[in-house]
């Protein structure tokens, strides 16, 4: 008797479901679980004890009374808001520039902005280490221009905006190509005759951008904003390198995601329970902010009133 075979779609679907389960749901449940136990220093046996909301109480206590942790919160807010603005607005500007310049030059221009993203984190970090450290390129230039009289340790001494500017700058450079590529293809996807019609109707560049291109790529704007918001909340690779090498002061270069990492694996005491509570908080805040952004940008309106396809 032939064995009944699973149809191909079911196979793919179950594979996808399996991947989602393994890489999203299970870690989430594990994190939530661990945040309710006293687990530290990889003492897995402690995963069977329960302490209720103890870790969350500790966490909120730290946020309120530990100046370092409250600095982390401030850094996170400034970092996410600042880098998001750089990524979205910068991406828009770069996409516009790429769209306006001649076709052949445009490809090189766009590839250039992908370099930071394609460069290994360590190499990219090293580059900016040499740029920002006291004997680095930045100070050399400023000294040469007589703008400063002696080297300044921008990332360590100029608090808080020194380190904040550096982390926004470095991560902005890494993230800006993402918005650029999406906006650029969105601009390209608007039919040429729409642009031509606008030109014949008397539109100047300003009218083209604000009355045609941006309104027609609203959806892309929403998508990039929310996507970048969520990525920025959870990214820490570049920050880790900058903090580790002392380019920026530890607490002013540390966002919540890096704090979670440090608490779990980095410090003398590996407090996985506290880190799990912090991670859970991050997920909740992330979901909340994501939904809020969608609402603020009128995503539902966009879905509700289905506009004609271009």
């Amino acid at each position: 008797m032939p064995r009944p075979r699973l149809p191909a779609p079911a196979l793919f679907l179950s594979l996808a479901a399996f991947l989602v389960l393994v890489f999203y749901i299970v870690p989430l449940i594990l994190t939530l679980w661990a945040s309710l136990t006293p687990v530290r220093n990889w003492n897995v046996a402690q995963l069977r004890q329960f302490v209720g909301a103890e870790n969350y109480k500790r966490l909120f206590h730290l946020i309120r009374f530990d100046p370092d942790v409250s600095t982390v919160v401030k850094t996170t807010i400034v970092f996410v808001a600042g880098t998001l603005a750089v990524n979205v607005l910068g991406g828009l500007l770069l996409a516009l520039a790429a769209f306006i310049i001649e076709e052949r030059a445009s490809l090189g221009f766009r590839l250039l902005w992908f370099l930071p993203r394609m460069t290994p984190v360590a190499v990219f970090g090293l580059l900016w280490y040499y740029f920002f450290y006291p004997q680095g390129t930045l100070n050399a230039i400023l000294l040469r221009l007589h703008l400063i009289s002696h080297p300044v340790n921008w990332g360590q001494d100029v608090l808080p905006w020194g380190p904040w500017s550096i982390i926004i700058f470095v991560n902005g450079l890494v993230g800006v190509s993402y918005g650029m590529i999406i906006f650029y293809s969105a601009f390209k996807a608007i039919p040429k005759d729409i642009y031509r019609a606008a030109l014949v109707d008397g539109a100047r560049l300003r009218d083209l951008v604000f009355r045609i291109m941006l309104p027609l790529t609203r959806w892309h704007l929403i998508f990039v904003t929310v996507w970048q918001l969520l990525s920025l909340l959870t990214t820490y690779a570049h920050l880790f390198v900058l903090v580790e090498w002392g380019v920026v002061e530890k607490w002013h270069g540390m966002t919540w995601a890096l704090y979670v990492f440090e608490t779990a694996f980095g410090s003398a005491v590996n407090d996985q329970a506290l880190a799990s509570a912090a991670a859970t908080l991050l997920v909740v805040v992330g979901i909340g902010l994501g939904l809020l952004t969608l609402r603020l940008m009128g995503f539902e309106r966009e879905l509700g009133a289905v506009r004609g396809e271009l």
């Binding site: 729409i194 014949v200 008397g202 004609g308 396809e309």
Partner: protein
Amino acid sequence: MVEVELRGVWKRFGDFVAVKNVNLRFPDGKFSSILGPSGSGKTTLLYLIAGIYKPSRGEILFDGEDVSQLPPNKRNVGLVFQNYALYPHMTVYENIAFPLTIKGLPRGEIEERVHSVARMLHIDELLDRYPHQISGGQQQRVALARALVKEPALLLLDEPLSNLDALVRLEIRGELKRLQRRLGITTIYVTHDQSEALAMADLIAVIHRGEIQQVGSPEDVYRRPRNLFVAGFIGMPPANLVKATVTRAPAPCVVIAGGGEYCPGEPLASKLEALGLEAVVVAFRPEDVVLGEHPMEDYVSLEAEVYVVETLGRENLVTLRLPDGQAVKAITSPLLNPRPGDKMYVNVEPSKILLYDPETELNIEAIEAAPAARPVSLAEASERRRAAQEED
């Protein structure tokens, strides 16, 4: 309004020549048409006039002033795109108001002008809708309203009726023509549909492969096609083109398969003689054929065999074959209903016959006349033909 002139205009896309040495004059206040098959360069030509493309060579003049380098927003033209190109994120009102809004006109004036043009085009009920919520015919009117609202000196229309069904097309065709008359705007209407061009235009420019084939009134283009392309393109169905030989004893006569002989009068006879042609292409329109069971007096008569009969309602379209296999079409009364295989006579009035040089494809009548009286040597004749070719 404005007179538009193109002088030696070329447009290249890379290696591809889309528009080739076009010299044209569109008279002020007239309805002109650019007529050509798909891909012949009509849209390219229109975009050149609008300023969307810059000519690779040559110049474009508005009222004698060179505007070749002016951007579209400085040319005061209204353009209705082939696909309408309405702004999908704006309502009909906002679409029509767009040219005025970006000019920064006062709100009251914008409102007044939008409503007045919308009323004129019967779309004042639709102002709150989005483009995807209205029909193709309504979109066409919105596009036209948007082009007209800025009161342009020149109106450019790119196959505006091609997406509409036959009835709506007929209706809008009439409206458009009346509107143009009333507003007196110089209008250039691009179409691949010769019936539109013939019905609406004061002047037709036929274009093929980027080259202008003929410029003239609808009557000119229909009755005196300048070359074989125009003869084979204009008309429903287009003219019959039949290969024939030339005999010269004593006067030049054209011998057509099926026993037809056509001895043209002056000045055609001497032109034929001067050109020294051995063969010609004979052209006559299917609607000029009198189909009968007998040859007719004073007509050129060709014996042919009926091949297919198509009933078109008001008339029949009969396809026949000459003895040498060439096909000839004839439009006849629906009462005449021959059967395939019947022998019939294709009778054509001599005055309805046109002759073309098979090599240059030019209408022999249109070729520069040579001094008639003297016999022409063969060398001389071919020299003249080369000259005619170059001139083309």
